[in-house]
């Protein structure tokens, strides 16, 4: 067995069925061995999209996603995708080819120190210098990527190592004495949490991606119901709780739901689970829950106290901790005060429901998102790109299940949504997959239309066409005297023709009702489709301006109840 074959064998042993990649000079040996192997390879049209697709696969399935690129430019093209996965704790394994060991350091053709380049954005990396090391390194990479706080792992394989014969296939895990993630929460801390909960009169829960990653959504729901605490989420926490539930308030933060942003500071206890309190979630720190006790549950001790001061930390896996918390809360009944608070918040949720009903032309993005949610089943996966399109989706779409809302949160990577949808579709072939994109971001990755066509992947790309780099345009409108510097996209391209040139059918949508019908048809046809939805470029979500506190949103928050 040669090194490349050992890579394939090891991946198969890890349960991998599909990898996303793009070949090149230093991976030709690997690709030659792949030719005969029974593992699927999706040839993306840009390596960045291989990483995003692996990431989308991982987020949709909870399993490790794998991407592959050649040395030098192939490897550097992965960097944005690796960084995106790192910021959002997504388990991917990125395999790169490298120039032969004897040429490393000589500035050989297509040599890049990809280990060095990615050091700050990977959880760990390996470079096997001997084919015998490959099985162990791959197995260990999967172990590191998927346990504790997940994240990307890079394996950089010199060309001659891909070609070299193994003397034995030994996939013993590499010893990593410096890696011991805490899983079980300290029971004394859990009991203290129970006591704080019992003392609280106005408890709230803030759920983040950690809840979804640790598959703790049932435990979260049980906790929320037991203690009758309303639940808000971070952007990446969407889906941790069914957002149509009375107790679910929706997203908190810079473009958060009004009910969440307005009432978080009224709470006397905040139970934060699997969140890292990003500045986009909290607003200015000194006016974020200034008088509220905070319990912070997270698997990464470095997140505790990093941004928000915490009264009670519990380090460990969210699911483990929530289930022991639920156990020690057995028999607990919330007081009348707690119930009054919950009732008040529930009533506010209804009162402050954002307006989504419009019959305007050009279309209001709110209405487009509303129609998308009407057309999709709770099983459907929605990925977003970055910008206004992302915030509209996050704000107006009620996500009902975990792993069904996929978005680049930490890095905010334009061009993420569409390739992530490709990965999600591979992970969940039976679930409809829709990506919501801006017209700017979609152009960064539109070449992947070739991929969805080639592999008949019925991914639906919705392009919200506002002819602007809307999010930046919005900031310029609100904060820079409407000086729209370099944010107007002009009138090219024709997205319908663009899609059709790839053999992907497309439709331009301009009126209310059309989005829903077109989506329903696309889902029924089970074909890749692009919907070019022309929207009102002047529409903007209320926001926290830089330096503002969480309850200091600017811009008019239009309410559904005001619709006559």
């Amino acid at each position: 067995m040669r090194g490349g074959e050992a890579i394939i064998e090891s991946l198969k042993n890890m349960g991998v069925k599909t990898i996303f990649g793009y070949p090149g000079g230093q991976t030709i040996p690997f690709y030659d061995m792949l030719y005969d192997a029974d593992i699927d390879h999706i040839l993306v049209r840009h390596e960045q999209c291989a990483a995003h697709a692996a990431d989308g696969y991982a987020r949709a399935s909870g399993r490790v996603g794998v991407c592959l690129a050649t040395s030098g430019p192939g490897a550097t093209n992965l960097v944005t995708g690796i960084g995106t996965a790192f910021m959002d704790s997504s388990p991917i394994v990125a395999i790169t080819g490298q120039v032969p060991t004897h040429l490393i350091g000589n500035d050989a053709f297509q040599e890049a120190d990809i280990i060095g380049i990615t050091m700050p954005i990977v959880k760990h990396s390996f470079q096997p210098k001997d084919p015998d090391l490959i099985p162990s390194m791959i197995k260990t990479s999967f172990e590191i990527a998927s346990t504790g706080r997940p994240g990307p792992v890079l394996i950089d394989v010199p060309k001659e190592v891909q070609e070299g014969e193994l003397t034995k296939f030994d996939d013993t895990l590499i010893e990593t004495p410096g890696y011991n993630p805490t899983i079980k929460g300290n029971i004394r801390q859990v009991k203290k949490a129970r006591d704080l909960i019992k003392e609280a009169k106005r408890p709230l829960i803030l759920a983040g991606a950690g809840v979804i990653i640790s598959n703790a959504c049932c435990e979260l729901k049980k906790l929320a119901k037991t203690i009758n605490a309303p639940v808000m989420t971070s952007l990446l926490g969407k889906g941790a709780i069914d957002e149509t539930d009375d107790l679910a308030l929706g997203m908190l933060g810079m473009h958060g739901r009004k009910v969440s942003n307005d009432y978080i500071n009224e709470s006397d206890l905040l139970i934060a689970i699997g969140v890292r309190f990003s500045d986009r979630t909290t607003g200015r720190l000194d006016s974020f829950v200034p008088e509220t006790k905070v319990i912070h549950i997270d698997i990464d001790p470095a997140e505790i106290g990093k941004n928000v001061d915490v009264d009670l930390p519990i380090v460990g896996d969210a699911r483990n901790i929530l289930s022991s918390l639920n156990k020690v809360l057995d028999g607990y009944n919330p007081s009348a005060e707690v119930n009054d608070w919950a009732d008040m918040i529930k009533a506010k949720k209804i009162e402050l429901r954002p307006r989504v009903s419009y019959d305007d032309v050009p279309l209001k993005p709110q209405t487009v998102i509303k129609e998308i949610s009407e057309a999709l089943s709770p099983e459907s996966i929605l990925t977003t790109d970055v910008g206004q399109n992302q915030m509209w989706a996050a704000h107006f779409f009620d996500t009902q299940k975990p792993r069904k809302f996929i978005s680049s949160g930490g890095l905010g990577t334009m061009g993420f949504g569409f390739p992530a949808a490709i990965g999600a579709k591979i992970a969940c072939p039976d679930d409809p997959v829709v990506s919501i994109n801006g017209d700017g971001g979609f152009l960064m990755v539109c070449q992947e239309l070739a991929t969805v066509r080639e592999y008949d992947l019925p991914v639906i790309a919705v392009v919200l066409e506002n002819r602007t780099l809307g999010m930046v345009y919005q900031w310029q409108s609100l904060l820079y005297n409407e000086r729209h510097s370099q944010t107007l996209l002009g009138n090219s391209p024709d997205f319908v023709k663009l899609a059709e040139s790839f053999g992907v059918s497309a439709e331009r949508i301009t009126k209310p009702g059309e989005t829903k019908d077109a989506l329903a048809k696309a889902i029924k046809d089970n074909e890749p489709v692009l919907l070019d939805v022309v929207i009102d470029s002047e529409e903007a979500l209320p926001m926290l301006p830089p330096g503002a506190g969480i309850n200091e949103m600017i811009g008019e928050y239009k309410l559904e109840k005001d619709v006559i």
């Binding site: 060095g116 050091m119 700050p120 760990h124 990593t176 004495p177 410096g178 470095a302 106290g305």
Partner: protein, 161 residues
Amino acid sequence: MTLKYHIISTLVEDKPGVLQKVAGMFNRRGFNIDSITVGNSEVEGLSRMVITVHADEKGLEQVMKQLNKLIDVIKIKDITKKAVKRELCLVKVNIPNAKARAEIMQYSNIFRAHILDVTEETLMVELTGDKEKINAFISLLEGYGIKRIARTGLTAMSRGV
């Protein structure tokens, strides 16, 4: 926010790139490393790094936690309070005249420094001690004209068992 001086002793895997990872992490998180020394430890395959850094309390906590997250880092300890600190310094100093030579040799004696190399015009002196001692010695020699200084940076170990 008061910055304090801290000595962090870490046990790390003796592998390529580990120094880069550790140093890079400090830089990325906005901390300046004052000094870093690395060498073999008592365990084969593991190195000990001694890092000195200025940080406030919250910053130090964050740095320690981030260090801990590096998979190649096995153990870390803030040994500031109990540390025995040593640094080695080599100085090459001019000798303008015979009197100067005698004085420098005398100072070296007092500081328990060693003369390593002698030429007509220069002396090379080796001194071990904590930062203050070395600084004091260097400032004594400054008047003669220092040609070159090479310092190892601080290494340290906590007292007791």
